[in-house]
Each structure stands twice: as structure tokens, then as C-alpha cells.
């Protein structure tokens, strides 16, 4: 049965709720309404108000409460209605959740789900990709799945993980990506990137919605005799450096692609690791493709110009291939 990215997350949540009575959901409009994107649709009916908690508009308190509940042995899964509002809970995440284990040995097994990304004309406050600030925070784990399979497998792993996990779901993929998922239960390990297409001439390292852009570009360039390897990071923190380096060592050229804005985005971190640890293998500059340094604009032509896309990737890939 083909399953959407959204439905895959819902299934993952559902299965974990069935499996473990300590898993519960906390967020705005997740109960009766089933969540702004309907990821938790039906859960209130199945699991009741005790386990599906509609909260006031209080992102900081929602995350704080999840931390507190996790100390008591529960495994809270928070929904932030749009990842743009995660900034309201920033202190709780980076200072409370992220540092407890290190400071005094208290694990914080919480998951914070947040629909992120552009391409839906959401404008400056319903389109952001806030992962970079959290990838910078030791103690957090950060996930950004690109496929329905990974989304389901990773949300399940996130819930079972004993550290705080941020789970960025790409809104534009929710209903666009469909796959046949296995009947039987499975999980996908946190911290493992995946080579989603093998290639010889250059590597595109990416995650989230951009994985699909990279694959399209690879497909298209195949016809031109350019063989592209695509690495889907899947987990952004901890970074699976090995898979990235192996790929770049093989192809000798790297494009780092993300939808988030360029300066201070994840591309820099990847570039630095490659140039520190695979310098001798490089046959060309490490290239970043990312959104420019502006807020996410609303108007379609501006948003289109803002988002990395097939054309931009293809052009850069051609250039780098020739280099």
C-alpha cells in the first residue's frame, strides 16, 4: 500500500503509542483537530485525552513540560505547529534539554516534531528551516527525513532514543512523496546517512526535500554522462561523517545542498569536515548550494528564486564536473 510521508510519520507515532504506554503527545491543536497538518488525526479517539494533550499556545512550556515528564519516565513527543515557532522554545531546548545529561546525568528522552521548509508559499514565518542552530547545540540529535520510509523508521527510533531529538518534517513532502512501506515493523537508525544513488563523478550531500531535487538532477545529468552520487544525511546531528567522506573520497568532488539559508547553514560544517579530512582527495572546490541570506519571501516568484531547485543544482554540477 503506498503511504505518504505524512501518513508514514503518523503510522510511526501510532505504532509507538501502541507499543509503549509511556509515549504520549503534547502540542497545540493535536487532539480534536488532529494537528495543523493532521499528522495526529485520529489519535485522540484511539488514545484519549491523557495521551494526546492539547496545550495552550506556549511553546516554551510545552517543551519544558516534555522535559519534566521525561524525568518521570515518560517519553513525550511534542508537536511544534510550525518549526518557525520553535524559536519560542529555544532556551528550553538548547539550555535545558540539551545539557541535562552532561551536567547531572539526567537523560531527556523527548522528541520535538516540527513541520519545516518552504515551497508552500508560507512566507517568512511558515517556511523556515531552523535546523542549523540546533545542529550547533551539543546534546541534541537532529533528524530531517526525505522519504516516507525513513520518516517512519526514524520517528520510531527518535521516540526510543534516550536523548532529546528534534525531528524536522518537511511540509512540502507531506503529501507529495508516496512509497510502498514494509508490512512488518522496522526502524531506521539515528546517525546513519544513506547513499541514495551511486555515482562516480561527484557527490551531492543533502537532506530533506532537497534529496529529491538532487536525485532529479542526477537523473538528468546521467543523460549527459555525468554520474552523480547522492548522499541523504537523514540525521543531521550526530553527523555521519564517514559516509560523507567515503563518498567524496570516491568522487573527489562535492556539492553540499540545502534549502536553509547559506551563511551559517549546515553546508559550512560539511565543507569544513571534508576539507579537513579529505583534502587530498579533492579535485575541485567544495561547492554549496543553498537559499540566499534573506527571510523566506512569500510571493511565488520570489520564493522560487529563493529556493534551491533543479536548474541551480544542474548548473553547478555541470560546472563542477568540468572543473
Amino acid at each position: 500500500m503506498t503511504t505518504t510521508y505524512l501518513e508514514a510519520i503518523r503510522q510511526g507515532l501510532w505504532e509507538e503509542m501502541e507499543r509503549d504506554p509511556d509515549v504520549f503527545l503534547l502540542g497545540e491543536d493535536i487532539g480534536v483537530y488532529g494537528g495543523a497538518f493532521k499528522v495526529t488525526a485520529g489519535m485522540l479517539d484511539r488514545f484519549g485525552e491523557r495521551r494526546v494533550v492539547d496545550t495552550p499556545i506556549s511553546e516554551s512550556a510545552i517543551v519544558g513540560a516534555a522535559i519534566g515528564a521525561s524525568f518521570m519516565g515518560l517519553r513525550p513527543v511534542v508537536e511544534i505547529q510550525f518549526s518557525d515557532f520553535i524559536s519560542c522554545a529555544y532556551d528550553q531546548i538548547v539550555n535545558f534539554a540539551a545539557k541535562c545529561r552532561y551536567r547531572w546525568g539526567a537523560g531527556v528522552p523527548i522528541v520535538i516534531r516540527a513541520p519545516s521548509g518552504g515551497g508552500i508559499h508560507g512566507g517568512p514565518f511558515h517556511s523556515q528551516n531552523p535546523e542549523a542552530a540546533f545542529v550547533h547545540t551539543p546534546g541534541l540529535k537532529v533528524i530531517a527525513p526525505a522519504t516516507a520510509y525513513d520518516a517512519k523508521g526514524l520517528i520510531k527510533s527518535a521516540i526510543r532514543d534516550n536523548d532529546p531529538v528534534l525531528f524536522f518534517e518537511h511540509k512540502a513532502l507531506y503529501r507529495r512523496i508516496k512509497e510502498d512501506l514494509p508490512e512488518e515493523e522496522y526502524t531506521v537508525p539515528i546517525g546513519k546517512a544513506k547513499v541514495v544513488r551511486e555515482g562516480r563523478h561527484l557527490s551531492i550531500v543533502t537532506y530533506g526535500a532537497m534529496v529529491h531535487v538532487a536525485l532529479e538532477a542526477a537523473q538528468l545529468l546521467d543523460g549527459e554522462g555525468i554520474s552523480i552520487e547522492v548522499v541523504d544525511l537523514r540525521t543531521l546531528l550526530p553527523l555521519d561523517e564517514e559516509t560523507v567522506l567515503d563518498s567524496v573520497k570516491k568522487t573527489s568532488k562535492a556539492i553540499l545542498l540545502h534549502e536553509d539559508t547559506i551563511t551559517g547553514g549546515l553546508g559550512g560544517e560539511l565543507s569544513a569536515r571534508i576539507s579537513e579530512r579529505a583534502f587530498e582527495y579533492l579535485d575541485g572546490p567544495i561547492v554549496r548550494i543553498a537559499a540566499p541570506d534573506t527571510p523566506v519571501p512569500y510571493s511565488p516568484p520570489l520564493e522560487e528564486a529563493f529556493l534551491p531547485n533543479l536548474t541551480k543544482v544542474v548548473e553547478k554540477a555541470r560546472w563542477l564536473h568540468k572543473y
Binding site: Y33, C88, G122, G123, H126, P297, S299, P301, L302
Partner: protein
């Protein structure tokens, strides 16, 4: 107001007593214009796919921005929430700019950079919200602080919903404003829902006004569907703030006569509430007061209404002809040039 019109002794009549025909007609004009603009946005343009982003309207709540907005002096600063379209109209933003804004055209207040009611213009002394609920509250407090600093007698008006009062920024903003005794008028539209969440899941006190004492801020509750009552309360608040007594909170009891946003059918709202609150429609009630007081003939009312429709028709046409911004504008204005 359908049933309402027939109700004798409608409270709007009481509250309208001190008002003039001209004032009442202004109230009626702005409320009707807001309704018409938003109806077109939500029920036409959005459904036609001409508006690609989120749409949140204030149907049924028009008395709040109109009553409060017309109590503000031109130099007072306005901080609208997402259901206060009339504030823009009152400040002279033309409907065509609003339609262009929603459609992402350069004719909009943000030239397509932002959508819907995320718009502002410092020359008109109206500040654009950000999405994060209640984030404007401390910002409005700061504007009010600056007014006192500069020694003006201006006031800042900050608008927000019931749900927004749960946010930390709301608390911090009210507290700072009150400790500093700044001229801030706080207008809550309590429409009893925050998206799908009913008020009893948002707060454990009966009224938003019950929160005033926590900040030493006087608070009153007003019928938010009665534009005369809202206007009178706002005048009291402005008087208080302008005379240096600090912030003042008005809670307007109302109801959101539509979904949270254009894509929300609001099935979670018990049916009877639509009926109850439909009978309290603020525009119908104003119309009733006008007719009952013989401030206008039915034909004059009809003429205002059809004038609004014509204005809106041509505004939409203008907006549809306004070009999209060019991609070359993408990188501008992140910093001062």
C-alpha cells in the same frame, strides 16, 4: 441582523446613545468594508487559487478593530493582530493594497515579501505582526515607552487574541509596560477559540480581564460585538493611558464566525454557537442602531453597501493587474542600503 434586527432593546441601542449619526455611519462603513474585503479574500480569491498563502479573517469581530481603531488618534501607534483588518483601512491603507498584499504583488504593503495581514507602514503608524502570537506585545510596550521618553501624549494600541495571552511574551510585555507605566492600550479579542482549542483548554481563569490584576493593570470586559461599546471602552482606556496612568486592558467578548484560516471548516465548533453568535453580528447590530435612531434611511445604508462592493471590485481588479515582484528584488533590503 436577521433575528437580531427584530430584537427590541438590543443593547447596541443603549451603548449607541451618546453617538452621532456621522460616527455611527463611520463605524458601519469600516465594519462593512472589512467584511467585504475579507469575504472576497476568504471566499472568492482564496478559493479561486488567487491567494496562495494562509488567510485568516475577522468575520464577526469587526467591531473590535473599528471601535478601538477609531478611538485612536492619528499619531497613536497600532499593533494589529491577525483579525484586525479594519485598522489598516482606518489608517488609510487602500483595499487595493490589501488585495495586492494577499496576492503577493508589488502593489501590496510588503511588495510580496510577506503575505496576508503581515503588513505595516511606519508612516501610517501601524506595525506589522510576526506570526509568533503575542510577540507584538513587548514591542508595543517599547513603542509606548518611547512615547513617554519623547514626551508626546501618544498611546500605543496592541491587539491580540485570547490564545495569545498564554504566551510568555504577553506576560513579559504587560509586566514591563505596567512597571514602567507606559501609555499602552491592550485590546483582547476573546473569540473563545485559539485555532481549534477552546478557551477552557487555554486558561483556567474565567476571563482574560482576570489577568489584569496580576500586573496592576485595570481591565474591563466589553461586548465585543457592539462597536459603540468597544469604542466607548477604548476611549476610557486611551484617556487612562494618555494621562500617564499606565496600561489598560479591554477584553472584548466575541466569536470567530469562520474557521481559524480559510482551509479550516471548524467542525470542532458546536453548531449552536454559530447560531447564537450569528444573531449578535456586529454589523447587523450597528445597522439596527442606525435605523432605529434614524441616523440613515435604509436606502442610504444600501447605497453605502453597494458603494463598498464597487470599491472592492475595482480594488481587486487593480490588485490583479499589479505585477509580481521581480526575482531581482529578492536580495534587497535585508540591510539598509
Amino acid at each position: 441582523m436577521g433575528a437580531g434586527l427584530a430584537v427590541a432593546g438590543d443593547p447596541a441601542l443603549e451603548s449607541a446613545r451618546e453617538y452621532s449619526a456621522e460616527q455611527a455611519r463611520r463605524f458601519f462603513y469600516y465594519m462593512s468594508m472589512m467584511r467585504e474585503v475579507e469575504d472576497r479574500i476568504e471566499r472568492k480569491l482564496y478559493r479561486q487559487g488567487k491567494i496562495v498563502g494562509g488567510v485568516y479573517v475577522g468575520r464577526g469581530q469587526e467591531a473590535i478593530p473599528v471601535g478601538a481603531g477609531l478611538a485612536a488618534a492619528p499619531d497613536d501607534m497600532l499593533f494589529p493582530s491577525h483579525r484586525d483588518m479594519a485598522l489598516y483601512l482606518i489608517r488609510g491603507v487602500h483595499p487595493r493594497q490589501i488585495f495586492a498584499q494577499y496576492m503577493g504583488r508589488i502593489g501590496g504593503l510588503t511588495r510580496g515579501r510577506d503575505g496576508n495581514m503581515h503588513m505595516g507602514d511606519l508612516r501610517l503608524r501601524i506595525v506589522a505582526i510576526i506570526s509568533a502570537m503575542a510577540a507584538s506585545v513587548p514591542v508595543a510596550a517599547g513603542a509606548a515607552l518611547a512615547m513617554r521618553y519623547k514626551g508626546t501624549r501618544d498611546v500605543a494600541f496592541c491587539f491580540f487574541g485570547d490564545g495569545a495571552t498564554s504566551r510568555g511574551d504577553w506576560h513579559e510585555g504587560l509586566n514591563l509596560a505596567s512597571v514602567q507605566r507606559v501609555p499602552l492600550v491592550l485590546i483582547c479579542n476573546n473569540n473563545q477559540y485559539a485555532y481549534s482549542t477552546p478557551i477552557e483548554k487555554q486558561m483556567a481563569c474565567a476571563n482574560v480581564a482576570d489577568r489584569g490584576p496580576a500586573y496592576g493593570i485595570p481591565a474591563e470586559i466589553v461586548d465585543g460585538n457592539d462597536v459603540f461599546a468597544v469604542h466607548s471602552a477604548a476611549l476610557r482606556a486611551v484617556e487612562h493611558a494618555r494621562s500617564g496612568l499606565g496600561p489598560y486592558l479591554i477584553e472584548c467578548k466575541t466569536f470567530r464566525m469562520t474557521g481559524h484560516s480559510a482551509h479550516d471548516p471548524a467542525d470542532y465548533v458546536p453548531k449552536h454557537l454559530w447560531k447564537t453568535w450569528g444573531e449578535r453580528d456586529p454589523i447587523d447590530r450597528a445597522k439596527y442602531a442606525i435605523l432605529a435612531n434614524q441616523w440613515a434611511e435604509p436606502e442610504e445604508i444600501a447605497a453605502i453597501e453597494s458603494g463598498i462592493r464597487r470599491e472592492v471590485d475595482s480594488a481587486i481588479e487593480w490588485a490583479e493587474n499589479s505585477p509580481y515582484p521581480d526575482a531581482s528584488e529578492l536580495l534587497e533590503d535585508v540591510y539598509e542600503r
